[in-house]
Amino acid sequence: MSDKNTALFCLESLKKAGADKAQCVLVNTEKNELNVDADKISLMRTSYNTNIRFTAIKDGRRGSSSLNGFLKPDIERVAASAVENAKASPADPAYDIAPRQPAKVFDNKIVTPDLDAMYDRLSTLLAQARVKYPLLKLSQAILNFNRRMEYFLNSNGVDFTSNSGYYDAFVFFLSQDGKKTSSFNYSMYTARDMKKEIIDTVSIDTLFRQSAEQLNTRPLEGKFEGEIIVTPVCLINFLQFITTMAIRDASLISGSSVYKDKLGKQIASQAFTLRSKPVSDEIVDGYYVTPDGFEAENTTIIEKGVLKTFLLSLYGANKTGLPRVSNTAGCDVIEPGDKTLEELAAPIKKGLLVARVSGNNPTEGGDFSGVAKNSYYIENGKILYPVSETMISCNIPKMFMDIKGISRERVHFGNSVYPWISFGGVTVSGK
C-alpha cells in the first residue's frame, strides 16, 4: 500500500470507528546523522519512522491518538482509540477541523543526503578548529539530513502532501587551558546543501574565538540598571516569551496573557517588526500546512511595534472569538535596523553584550532573571571583557517597549533570521 493509500485507509478507519469529523496526518521521516563527541567523529545513524496521528470529533467531543508503524490492524485499533478518547471528552463547540481547501502537493525538491559532503564538512570543522583555536574542545557536534513526507487528510476534504528535505547542524563547545574551563556555548542552523564550511556559518568562527577569550572572565561588582545588547543566537530566549507563551492558546484562553487586550496596539518599540515566514525562500525548513490542516501563509506578527495577530490555533480562535493565525508561527524573520554592532554599543554607559542566558522560565507577566553566559561587559561604549557570575533581571514586555537599536547585520539560521538588538531597563547584578 502506498503512503497516500495508507493515509486514506487511516481516514476511513476513523470514520468507520464512528468519527463525525476525522483528521489524520501520516509522516514518513528518514534521518541520516553524523555525531562528533569530544573532538572525534563517533557515530553515524540512519533512522526511519512512520508516525500517524489521528483526531476524531464525535458528538462535539474530541480525542486523539497516534502510533508509529503502518500495519492495518494497528491502524484500525489506534483509530478506534481516538474515537474512544473523544467519547471520554466533554462536548465543546470549539472543537473543529479545517474546512475543505484545494488539494495541493508541496515539494522543496531536496531528496537525497550527500553523506560524503556531510563527513567532509565535519572533519574539516575539526581540523580547522584544531589549527585555529587549539584550546577549543568540540564537546559535541551533530550533522543531520532530514527527509520528511507528510500526508494531511481530513473528512472535510483537506488533502495536502508535503515533501521536504534539509540539513541541520548543531555545535556545542568550550575551551580548556590546563585546569581552566570556559562556559560552554553552542550554535545551530539549517541548510539546503552542505557546500559551505560549518565554521563559516552563523557566527561559529566568532563564537569559537570568543570561547578562548572566556577562559579568563571577570566577575562584576555590584548592581546597576543598564542596557544589554542581545546577540542573534540568544534573542530567542527573550522573544519566545511572546511567540511561544503570551500570545498562544493557553495564555489567551486562561486569560493570563499580558497581551490579552493588546491586539492592534503597541507592544514593542516602533523599530521592531517580526514576521513569521514558513513559506519563504529566507527559511530553509519551513512548513506548508498548519497542525490544524490549513495551508500555511507568511504573516506579520508585530509591525512597527504593533501586535498584528495572536498565534491562536483553530481551537483557540473558536474558544476566544479572536482570529486564527494563518500559520503556526516559528520561522521568525526580524526586520533589520540601521546600526552596526559598534554603533549599538556606543551610547551604552554600563551594560552587557549577552550571548547566552541560563535562566528561569519567564513568569506569566514576563519577569525573567538568569545568568548572562559567554557575555561581555560594556562600559562607555566599549565592549571590554567577558564576565562571570553575572545575573540579569528584566521584564520582557517592558524590554521590547524599550528597544534602543537594531543592527543592520542579521544572522540567517535557516529557520530564523535575527539581528542584534539593544534593550534598556535591565538590572545587572554581579557578586
Binding site: T46, N51, T181, F184, K431
Partner: protein, 459 residues
C-alpha cells in the same frame, strides 16, 4: 506489549552489536479552566541496532519488531559503522565483554483505567478547585503518564526485558495581584502505573488545598534581595543541585568533552559532610523512581558514588568511557526513544541525608532565605548553575518571616558545596524531571534540606 525476548535474532549479531526493541507509550490529559485541551494517547516504538567497528559506531532504527525489520536495521547499522571505520581508521580493540540478564516488569497488576476514567479523575479535581477557590484567575490540571518498555539482546550475551511506567499529575493555579499574574504549580509523580500511584481524586484534595495555600503565600510574597545569602534549600532543590550542577559535570562523556570535573578526580570538591550518589535502582533499601538493573548496553547497573565525604570519587560511565578511564562501567547508558542510541545518563541522583533537624537548621540562620521547589535548572561545564525557585521564606533571627514570590538562584556547584554546614536527616525524591541532554529522558533526583551560601537573583 512488545516481544519480551529477542533471542530469535541472535544469529544477526556479531563483533560488538546490539538490538533493542523499544516502545514508549504516553497518555496526556489536560484541563484548562475546565476545558479539555489535551486528550491523547500515543505510542512510538521499533527496533534499533548498534554496531561497533574498530572504534566507530553505526546505528539504525525503524518501526516494526519482526525479522525483516531486524535484518534491515542491522544491515544499515553495519553499513554506517563500515562507512565511518573506512574513513576514521581508529583501529581500536573490541569493547570488553561482560553480560547481564534480567526481567524487570513494573506493570500494575490492577485493571487499567480507561481514558474516560482518567478524564473523570482530573475533572473531579478541577471541579473541586473551581467550586472551592472561585477567586482564581485560572487553573490547569493534567496527567502525563509514560511507559517505557524494552527488550534487549547483544552479541556478548546480555539480554533483558523491562517495563518502567511513570505517572505524573500536576496542578497549576493562577491568581492576580495588582494587575500581575502570580502562578504556582506542584506535582505528584512516581514510578508505577497510575493505578498504583493514585487512588481516588478526593485523596488529593488536601494536597490541592496546600497548592492553593502556597499560591496565596506567593501572592502576598516579596521578591528576595539580590546577593549572596545564607540559605536553606529544601529537598527538591538539593535534588536538582545534585543532578544539574554536579551530576552533569561528572558524566564521563561530558568530562571527555571538557567538564571542569576532569581535573578534580580524587580531590575535595565539597564540605566533608557531603556525599552524592547516582543510585542504579535501590536507595536506602527502597526501590528508586528510575530503576535500572541492566543498562541499554547490556551492562549490570551499579551505584556511582560520585562524592564521598566531600571528595570526587567516580564519574558515571558507559562501556566505552569506562575503558578510556580504566574504570568499571556503572551501567549509566540509556536511550530515550527507540530511535536513540544509548548515552550516559543519570538515573537517581541524590545528595545523601545528614543528621540535622530542619527546625535547627532554620534556627541557625540570622538573615537568609528558605528556598523551596524548582521550576527549571541549567548547569555549565564549569559547574556554574542557575535554578528557578518556586517559593520560600525570608529567615530573620532563626524564624520564617515574609514569604517569597519566587527567585532565580545561581552559583558554582563545587564552590557552593564547600559552604555546606548542615544537612537534614530527612530526604525527598522527585520523579518529575525530564533530563534534556541530547535526548529527553526521565531522571529522578533527591536530597535532604541543605544549609549553604547561595547567590540570589533579585530585582
Amino acid at each position: 506489549m512488545i516481544k519480551t525476548d529477542l533471542k530469535e535474532y541472535a544469529e544477526l549479531l556479531g563483533g560488538y552489536s546490539e538490538l533493542r526493541l523499544h516502545e514508549n507509550r504516553n497518555t496526556n490529559v489536560m484541563l484548562m479552566n475546565g476545558n479539555l485541551v489535551g486528550n491523547e494517547n500515543s505510542s512510538s516504538g521499533g527496533l534499533s541496532a548498534r554496531v561497533y567497528k574498530n572504534g566507530a559506531w553505526g546505528f539504525a532504527s525503524s518501526p516494526g519488531a519482526e525479522l525483516d525489520t531486524a535484518k534491515k536495521v542491522m544491515a544499515a547499522a553495519s553499513r554506517n559503522a563500515d562507512f565511518l571505520d573506512s574513513r576514521l581508521k581508529k583501529g581500536l580493540p573490541p569493547l570488553p565483554a561482560m553480560a547481564a540478564h534480567g526481567i524487570y516488569d513494573l506493570s500494575t497488576k490492577k485493571p487499567r483505567r480507561s481514558q474516560k476514567e482518567l478524564v473523570d479523575f482530573i475533572s473531579e479535581i478541577d471541579g473541586y478547585i473551581a467550586s472551592k477557590y472561585k477567586g482564581l484567575k485560572g487553573r490547569r490540571v493534567l496527567i502525563k503518564n509514560l511507559d517505557m518498555e524494552k527488550a534487549f539482546l547483544n552479541s556478548y550475551g546480555s539480554s533483558f526485558y523491562s517495563v518502567t511506567p511513570r505517572s505524573v499529575l500536576m496542578v497549576f493555579l493562577f491568581a492576580e495581584k495588582d494587575g500581575a499574574v502570580v502562578d504556582h504549580w506542584e506535582d505528584v509523580s512516581s514510578v508505577g502505573h497510575f493505578e498504583d500511584v493514585f487512588t481516588e481524586p478526593s485523596a488529593l484534595f488536601n494536597w490541592v488545598d496546600g497548592v492553593y495555600e502556597r499560591l496565596m503565600q506567593k501572592v502576598s510574597g516579596i521578591y528576595p534581595e539580590a546577593g549572596h545569602k545564607e540559605c536553606i534549600l529544601d529537598a527538591s532543590l538539593a535534588g536538582i543541585l545534585a543532578h544539574e550542577a554536579v551530576g552533569h559535570t561528572t558524566e564521563a562523556d561530558l568530562v571527555l568533552g571538557g567538564s571542569v570535573a576532569g581535573a578534580l578526580m580524587g580531590k575535595p570538591v565539597a564540605s566533608s559532610m557531603v556525599n552524592l550518589t547516582d543510585f542504579a535502582h535501590t536507595a536506602f533499601g527502597k526501590p528508586c523512581h528510575i530503576p535500572i538493573y541492566v543498562d541499554d548496553e547490556g551492562v549490570e547497573a551499579k551505584d556511582a558514588v560520585i562524592i564521598k565525604d566531600g571528595v570526587l570519587t567516580s564519574y558515571m560511565h558507559n562501556r566505552e568511557s569506562a575503558v578510556h578511564y580504566g574504570a568499571a562501567p556503572t551501567g549509566n547508558a540509556r536511550a530515550s526513544e527507540f530511535s536513540d542510541e544509548p548515552i550516559i545518563r543519570m538515573r537517581n541522583t541524590a545528595i545523601l541525608p545528614g543528621t540535622d533537624r530542619l527546625e535547627d537548621m532554620v534556627a541557625s540562620v540570622d538573615d537568609g532565605y528558605y528556598l523551596a521547589g524548582w521550576t527549571n535548572g541549567q548547569a555549565d561545564a564549569t559547574s556554574e548553575f542557575t535554578f528557578g525557585v518556586k517559593s520560600g521564606y525570608e529567615i530573620k533571627n532563626g524564624k520564617f518571616a515574609r514569604s517569597l514570590r519566587g527567585a532565580t538562584v545561581s552559583g558554582v556547584a563545587f564552590d557552593l558545596l564547600k559552604t555546606v554546614t548542615m544537612l537534614s536527616s530527612e530526604m525527598n525524591w522527585s520523579a518529575l524531571g525530564m533530563c534534556g541532554k541530547k535526548q529527553s529522558i526521565p531522571a529522578a533526583m533527591g536530597g535532604p534540606a541543605v544549609k549553604c551560601v547561595m547567590n540570589i537573583g533579585g530585582r
